[in-house]
Symmetry: C2
Subunit: 349 residues, 2 copies
DNA sequence: CTGAAAGCGCTTACAG
DNA sequence: CTGAAAGCGCTTACAG
């Protein structure tokens, strides 16, 4: 009825068939302890195991060793197209290392996040890959202090006690600003992301420093900060910028969702993109190249981000006293139809 | 160093603190057996447990009971925007039922699929939600015969030995055909999906019967079958249709990806959508409403699909001899800018 | 190099 | 209603 049939052959039976003690059979079958056993014995045990179709009982093993070879992956929202490629990268790497992926979405709800972490620990995951970090994240810091293996993905905590894999936002933003400056834009605005997240802050700071490096000033009326990375917030902020009197000829949005909101705001204001205002995003979401106009944006290697995070975690699991590692992957600017040479300043409202 | 600190308090200690035998403590703490214990004793045990911060060891429990309260979710490709909402629906429902989600992508590779199923069984998942079914799927049928609880999601196996949750494709297609016929289209073409999948077949058959019901003939030169649900295949098939001499004024693509390919083919042929040719998709992928033109398509309640599949599985787990259930969720046509009244027949090539 | 034994932390017949 | 005991299937010190 259930799949107990599969489980019917146990280590004890393999041992009997091979004429050895179960302990010996265990050692022979386990990679790590195999060298303790005489080669001929190993061979005998392995033969018996495969003859009987022996499959070790993971539950028993996990119970005994307190290791589950599973890792918890905590993301904000799988519906955000950023995350699926990361999850795939994680899964691919984890799988080849013999780990299994427990996935959970926080949906940005504190209560849900707490539940998820508690559940993952109850399930004895060997480690956690967390893509929901806030810059200040006491909950996460506490986890780390409890000695749970955690790798941060995409976003980062201010407290530098985590290994992490994220994109080099500074480099990405620099490429954006250089591109816009190169097109002759004088009045470049920024729709910043939430400053409570490392990505929002890093891109904002990158904007300030890149502007300065390019000899431009980032005027206060040309910056608006969104409270979330959503289309609605992008529209709201872009509207603020357009009505501020700052007369931007280009808007750099801290991610593609916000950029989509910029499109909406421009449309509502009767402005054309890129003729009147250029728009740049960040992330290179799927299908963003099929919009009208196709969005100029910064491509982040999301799959790689996930794969590297998984690797870091696995390394850390195998070598618990490994020093922390902070990986920054290189993004690249993808120029499409939403940016064009600056024309004249535009004033609205 | 590890989170062993959390595990330090064991059932035995709770029992001692409450002055009862561990067996009694177990019964008192377990929902199902609590009624066997005198209320005052239950109270004492519960108090002791919470005073000591007792957390049952899942590993021990799973080992003993052979249940893990985990379910494997097998999807073709998380990067396909269809699946994230389904996965979220699954996770939400599973979580409230106390189950955890093991996620894996087959990437449509047979080898990978086999590995995944083997792994999931090794991990003793309580059941499986499978969105990768082929119409003929001996592997899956075998699983079911082994008595593993399986619920099919989105796609279905010809062999009717599974519970499943999918969309009522026939109803969706009917709405599409009626819409196009209502717009005066005489020559309606179909880019069919892979006929090895139930979705591809059902939508094709739905097309045939709806056309017939509407008094139209589905001419052979107005149907082309894709070998995969991809943009490239959509473009290839649409090109075939446009060059076949059938002169379609509307193309119904079996999903949005294929419809995207139709857009490309029209563009390459110098035809405008919807002025020259109307296009309809299926699924209502995220952001498909932001394309140029916004795609008319059939909305499928993907989140609900996932949630219902999870529910079916959980029900089946709790009530193993429950009869199979086949759920068909109702889709709805979303009319956007890619469809317009028919003008004249168009001939290309 | 191998055997004998203990034990991981629970659950669950079985007695009483 | 509760206790005493067995046992799930492994791994791993400990002897020899």
């Amino acid at each position: 009825m259930t799949h107990d049939a599969r489980d019917v052959v146990t280590l004890r039976e393999v041992a009997r068939a091979a004429g050895v003690h179960p302990g010996t059979a265990s050692r022979a079958l386990n990679e790590a302890t195999r060298s303790l056993v005489r080669p001929e014995t190993v061979e005998r045990v392995v033969a018996a195991a495969s003859a009987l179709g022996y499959r070790p009982n993971y539950l028993a093993r996990s119970f005994k060793t307190r290791q589950t070879r599973s890792v918890g992956v905590v993301i904000p929202d799988i519906n955000n197209p950023l995350f699926p490629p990361m999850v795939l990268g994680i899964e691919d790497r984890l799988t080849t290392e013999g780990y299994v992926t427990l996935l959970a979405n926080t949906q940005n709800e504190a209560q849900r996040r707490e539940r998820i972490f508690a559940e993952m620990l109850e399930r004895h995951v060997d480690g956690l890959i967390v893509a929901t970090a806030q810059r200040e994240d006491p909950e996460l810091v506490e986890l780390a202090q409890d000695g749970i293996a955690v790798v941060l993905l995409n976003r980062v905590v201010e407290d530098r006690s985590f290994s992490s894999v994220s994109a080099d936002d500074g480099a990405g933003v620099r490429a954006v600003v250089d591109h816009l400056v190169g097109l002759g834009h004088e009045r470049i605005a920024h729709v910043a992301g939430p400053q409570s997240m490392s990505t929002g802050l890093a891109r904002y700071q990158g904007f300030l420093s890149s502007m300065q490096a390019a000899g431009r000033r980032a005027e206060p009326e040309l910056v608006a900060a969104a409270t979330s990375f959503t289309i609605n917030e992008g529209e709201r902020c872009a509207t603020v910028l357009l009505e501020s009197g700052g007369a931007p000829t280009a808007i750099f949005a801290a991610n593609d969702m916000l950029a989509l909101g910029c499109y909406s705001a421009l449309e509502r204001a009767g402005l054309r993109c890129p003729e009147d205002v250029s728009v740049v995003g960040f992330n290179d979401m799927p299908f963003i190249d099929r919009l009208n106009p196709p969005l100029t944006t910064v491509r982040i290697p999301h799959y790689e981000l996930g794969a590297q995070a998984a690797q870091l975690l696995v390394d850390q699991l195998h070598q618990p006293h490994e020093p922390l590692r902070v990986l920054l992957l290189v993004p690249s600017l993808v120029v499409r139809g939403s940016t064009a040479p600056a024309r004249a300043a535009v004033r609205v409202g």
